[in-house]
Symmetry: C2
Subunit: 205 residues, 2 copies
């Protein structure tokens, strides 16, 4: 019995946004998992899209499920970082607009499939798995809820009570765009963001 694969696994030394085997796998997986779903994507398809043989995937990851986990982790980390940066150093309403824009860019732009996979493939993970991802997700939600509370205090939010439900409604309105948004209509995530913000923000008194 050979030593377990796990023992030799690299954690991404640089980023996984590189041309290394790991990086190529994660990018290909993000695209396929988003387009076809996790279960409907076979390791053979995935390997071909990453430019290697199916067996080689298991040199980099112990299982198919761990590839899904890696996709989600990367998506969550990148969007969180982008949105958190947009929050800094602006008035609440301006911050909010920037955050919405970054969030939509993070789920709608080309080669930004990771976060969409994270949003819609949660149930492909067995009950115990993905605690790390779950924690990241909660942190991300807290970021938004805090922002909504700031807007409520300034009287700029459309509904002055229920910040939790407001956040859920907002996230629904934003994340649903994954289901219908198609870039070729002349829309961009930025323009969509501007319009959607207008639904939730109240004019200054």
């Amino acid at each position: 019995m050979a030593p377990r694969n796990q023992l030799r696994l690299r954690r991404s030394s640089t980023s996984d946004r590189d041309e290394s085997g790991r990086g190529r796998i994660i990018r290909a997986a993000a695209r396929l998992f988003r387009e076809k779903g996790f279960r409907a994507t076979t390791v053979r398809e995935l390997a071909e899209a990453a430019g290697m043989q199916s067996g080689s995937l298991f040199y980099f990851f112990p299982s198919k499920q761990d590839i899904l986990l890696a996709v989600m982790e990367q998506g969550m980390a990148e969007v969180h970082a982008s949105v958190a940066a947009a929050k800094e150093g602006r008035a609440p309403a301006a911050s909010f607009r920037a955050m919405v824009r970054r969030h939509l860019e993070g789920i709608l732009e080309e080669d930004s499939d990771h976060m969409a996979v994270m949003l819609y493939e949660t149930r492909s993970l067995p009950a115990g798995a993905g605690k790390q991802v779950l924690k990241m997700r909660r942190d991300y939600e807290a970021l938004w809820e805090a922002q909504i509370e700031a807007l409520i205090q300034q009287g700029r939010w459309c509904h002055p009570r229920e910040p939790r439900l407001s956040r859920l409604a907002l996230m629904g309105a934003l994340n649903w765009s994954v289901q219908w948004y198609r870039p070729q209509r002349g829309d961009t995530p930025a323009r969509l963001a501007a319009t959607l913000c207008a639904l939730f923000l109240r004019e200054p008194a």
Copy 2:
């Protein structure tokens, strides 16, 4: 070569909400497809949940995919009927509130898995399939968009332009609840509906 299964298939003589084989299969499929997803549900699990052997499914349906289609059709038809009925004979804002309530009940209540499957399993259908379901879906969306236009005319909608985007945002906010709503919190779909309506409706002038 035996005659194809299709030739012997019954269209639901009464409703499929009965205890017939077909009805049992559709109900079990709705629950499993929602909980685990279409691909992750095997015909053996599905058969067991419906109280029969796996082969027997194919006496009632020509393929697993046709079971999915039947689930979606039933869900779409029932919710459409319920929401369309709520629209009748009320002032626009009151209609709207009733519609939102019916929609949420249709996707959140126990044994109402069909519509949720319809919302989140579209990509499990191959490109050509489900034209019937797609048409039903478009009709349903038109129903909502008309309602939003009526509210805009009365000055009761939170955003006076962009009825299409308003509809998409609203649907997102409502449909996202499938991902997070859990009944045991003391919430009900009806209460959730009331709060979410307040986000989108404007007070009468």
